[in-house]
Amino acid sequence: MEENIKDEAAKDNYRQAPKTAVYVCHCGGNISDVVDVKKVAAEMARYPGVAVAREYAFMCSSNGQDLIIDDIKKLGVNRVVVAACSPSLHELTFRGVLQRAGINPYLYEHVNIREQVSWVHKADHEGATAKAVKLTQAGVEKVLRQDPLNAIRVAAEPRVAVIGGGAAGMKAALAAAGKGLEAVIIEKAPRLGGKLLELGKVYPSGEQASSVLKKFEDLVAAEKLITVHTGAEIDFVGGFVGNFKINFKKSDGGMAQIKAGAVIMATGFEHYKPHKGEFGFGEAANVVTLPDLITLLKNSPAGRLEYAGKEIKSLALIHCVGSRQIEGVNQPQADGKVNDYCSRVCCTSALYTANQVKEKYPAVQIYDIYRDIRTYGMRHEDYYEKASKDGVIFFRHAETDQPIVESARVAHTVKVKDVLTWNEELEIKADLLVLVTGMMPSDIKFLASQMKLAVGADRFLQEVHPKLRPVEAANSGIFIAGTAQAPMDLTETAAAAATAAAKAAILLAEPDIPLEPFVAVVDEAKCTGCGLCPAECSYEGALMMTEKNGKKLAQVNPALCKGCGACVAVCPVRAIDVAGWTLDQFDAMVDAIGKEG
């Protein structure tokens, strides 16, 4: 919510008799192809307590929103129900509409008749329509018992903590500081740089990673608003949006605490480490990973590509090692899951490196064993073309026909069923085998559990929505930058990190931050001070016992309460309710749904 809720308007509204409007959205057809929206609107128009009911193609469109505003202004509507998509998509949109029309934005109920009705009852139009009516009626009952609420406002620390000091972390800190925010980088390694410290030439610029790092370091050093802590070991992260606290052990052994209004997770990636025996890795000599080849290329003398003192005259690249894995074919990680995702950068990186090998050592024969070449970037296709022209020989295998490596003392034989030559099984002999390894997120189990961060099935940090809120964690005030979220290259990392900083800057643009008011509220008259509820509360400091006029009472800290309702469930005297989700509201909703006819 952008503006403060006007208390006066809220009070006026509360005194008025409830006048509810119901809007049934077609969602362009997503709903109306299954649900008879006209019938739902007609049924709702007859329902007690409903002043007006309408249906419209897209309630979330400007026209749809204007319908609501018109009814509020002209008909004196003071409570609104929209039956549409999931509230996670548009509840905030419609609360904003109420606010613009001058009524309390929480006198609103969003009923989901898309995910919960039209999408799941495609074959039963009549049943779907009846269910939509029931759910919408329950929504009306809820909103009729809704009190106006005000967002809880908490003062925010005008500071961003950036966890991780690689390219993403430095970029995020620079972007935030550029906006005038203090930024604190907390990096566990002894110096800034992350993976930039290891990489060779980076595509597409051809610049050495060390030179990119130097630029970043210089920019960071020149920015007075940035503080850097390297060699820092985080041992506690607590607090909430606007008021995070991060405790860490400094490189000198002393302890320090950072207070920050927002946290940017820039914890980066690790290269996939092949299992022992995966394509001969760890067992046969001369089986290395792509990062190893990059190092090799940096350190080999001119005229002779060397590994372990021996000249390499031929090498074979095997793509998708640790990426695009298939259950039952590839060995899972410790958590039992295979890496079924594409690591995005490895195809380009492998071909870019192959071209560098060819440039420096034109006589080295290179074989490239792949499934799909994914050189998607603007100039990346050129690397593929150059490699083909320079004599890199490509072999393509089907996903289930993995290449088989047989290692002798001197060289390796890779057997590939090559679909490009009519599925012939070909044998490739190479002095060096290079496994093109993918990306895995850095091990952040500790931070994820401290901060209660959502992690996807791919183990990377999970954003709220890839298009609506692509760099936000579900926990308010925490943003994700770079490869902590998914594999990406350097430019993409710069984009993601800058955007994470933009979102942090937007959050901290005002000195205080509005929080949702759906928190536990204690009815002091009913509370017997039995003390059962604090034991149930999982959020430290959110619910405590206190004394008032000699009476023991439960007391809620609204800034810390998440409104989970655990305390409500254990209260023997119904003295606690979650605002906006009271037991009375639930009772009425269940009654409405359970009612015959």
Binding site: A175, M378, K467, A500
Partner: protein, 429 residues
């Protein structure tokens, strides 16, 4: 419309597709004032015309309309639609954009969007929003969820019958309306001019435009959209429900013969998405995707691809030589398989979609902003390792496909970075 209107803002955003909308919101939410200039009569760009979007399969409208609404309601954003940027001049630290607001032939101050003019207009023309698969009136609101909801009249098609003017309750049809100039002064410029799909003139053998059942992907999007031209998937030549649909990948990308050697990044995924949606609307149809490499590289994309394979969509690694048709307008695709046998084959389908690539939507060099372009007309970054938005022109930033093809999630993220880079630049002025 006021002649010679002048405004001053912090940032000028050119283009209002998803990248422009997001960049404008991310600027305005940081406290800056923004003007958007959009050449189409509505904001929303290409995304608003899509059906559902990968990898989450949200309906495109559900994601775009709230952004459009936020932009139109934002106290710090002004959006000028149906307006073109004629040129931008830099004087010291200020940009001055000369903009022409094209006439809608409707008085925007008076119009109440009642659509009566549209109802009575007797002249129909192909609706470009429906990719020509539907019709619209010569005076009409561009599409259901357009913003603003003002009708536009196309004088070249109008027969001057006056029906619209007679029925208009606000007397706001103005046949004599003239283009009006607008001057926008801004401290930073964000280019978000998006894309067009690759023209297929250099690839006539694929039949687009000549064979009725060979479709552009944007037309297929409209067929799949819940509120599309037919309300269901039918093929254009005869309204038949197709039993066999084929996608030709890289039809306009990775192809030097048409001047687009680069990968367009989105075509594999939109084809897989459309194919996935088709399995819902045409449960018994065979769906084939002819491809070179499947590039499902984004977050969750490989899994999306795997799901499509599991749903029975067939992926055939083959190069398509040409598309012809038989007497019943059934497209015949001549392919050379790149796995298994390699003898050319001809395969008959009911409907063929050409997965066209992306080219720049606008020649931004005409703005003379100092932003350098690459060989293909996309904006170059000044240092792509350090920033994904800063161009060689001071105060000029780029968001989205103007820098090269990218999908919606990448464009949304990208827009945020353009907004913070622009904000940082303004702060240091």
């Amino acid at each position: 419309m006021i002649a010679g209107e002048k405004i001053e803002v912090d940032a000028l955003v050119v283009g209002s597709g998803i990248a422009g909308l997001q960049a404008a919101l991310d600027m305005a939410d940081q406290g800056f004032s923004v003007a958007i200039v959009e050449k189409s009569p509505s904001i929303g760009g290409k995304m608003i015309s899509l059906s559902k979007v990968f990898p989450t399969l949200d309906c495109a409208s559900c994601i775009t309309t709230p952004r459009m609404a936020s932009v139109s309601h934002h106290p710090r954003i002004q959006a000028f639609t149906y307006s073109v940027v004629d040129g931008i001049k830099r004087e010291g630290k200020t940009f001055t954009a000369a903009v022409t607001r094209k006439p809608r032939y409707v008085d925007e101050k008076e119009c109440i969007s009642c659509k009566r003019c549209e109802e009575v207009c007797p002249v129909c023309l192909p609706d470009e929003f429906e990719m020509g698969l539907g019709v619209k009136k010569t005076i009409s609101i561009p599409f259901t969820n357009a913003i603003p909801q003002f009708p536009v009249m196309y004088p070249e098609h109008c027969i001057r019958c006056g029906a619209c003017a007679r029925v208009c309750p606000k007397d706001c049809i103005d046949f004599l309306q003239e283009p009006s100039p607008l001057e926008i002064k801004a401290r930073a410029v964000i280019l978000a001019t998006g894309y067009e799909t690759t023209p297929m003139t250099a690839k006539k053998q694929y039949g687009l435009g000549n064979l009725p059942n060979v479709l552009a992907p944007m037309a297929a999007e409209r067929l799949l959209a819940p509120h599309g031209p037919y309300g269901r998937v039918l093929r254009p030549s005869d309204g038949k429900v197709p039993d066999s649909v084929a996608y030709v990948q890289c039809a306009g990308s990775r192809d030097k013969s048409i001047g687009v050697p680069y990968c367009s990044r989105v075509c594999c995924m939109y084809a897989i998405k459309q194919a996935t949606l088709l399995t819902g609307s045409l449960p018994t149809a065979d769906i084939t995707i002819y491809y070179m490499d499947i590039r499902a590289f984004g977050k969750g994309y490989e899994q999306f691809y795997n799901n499509a394979k599991a749903m029975g969509i067939s992926f055939v690694k083959a190069k398509v030589a040409r598309v012809t048709e038989d007497a019943g307008h059934n497209p015949i695709v001549r392919i050379e398989r790149q796995e298994g046998t390699s003898a050319p084959e001809e395969v008959k389908h009911d409907l063929v979609v050409l997965s066209q690539g992306l080219i720049p939507g606008c020649d931004v060099s005409s703005f003379h902003l100092g932003a350098e372009l690459n060989d293909f007309g996309f904006v170059k970054l000044s240092d792509e390792n350090i920033s994904s938005a800063v161009t060689a022109g001071a105060g000029v930033f780029a968001a989205g496909v103007v820098k090269g093809p990218r999908d919606i999630p990448d464009s949304v993220v990208d827009a945020g970075s353009a907004a913070i880079e622009a904000a940082n630049y303004i702060r240091k002025l």
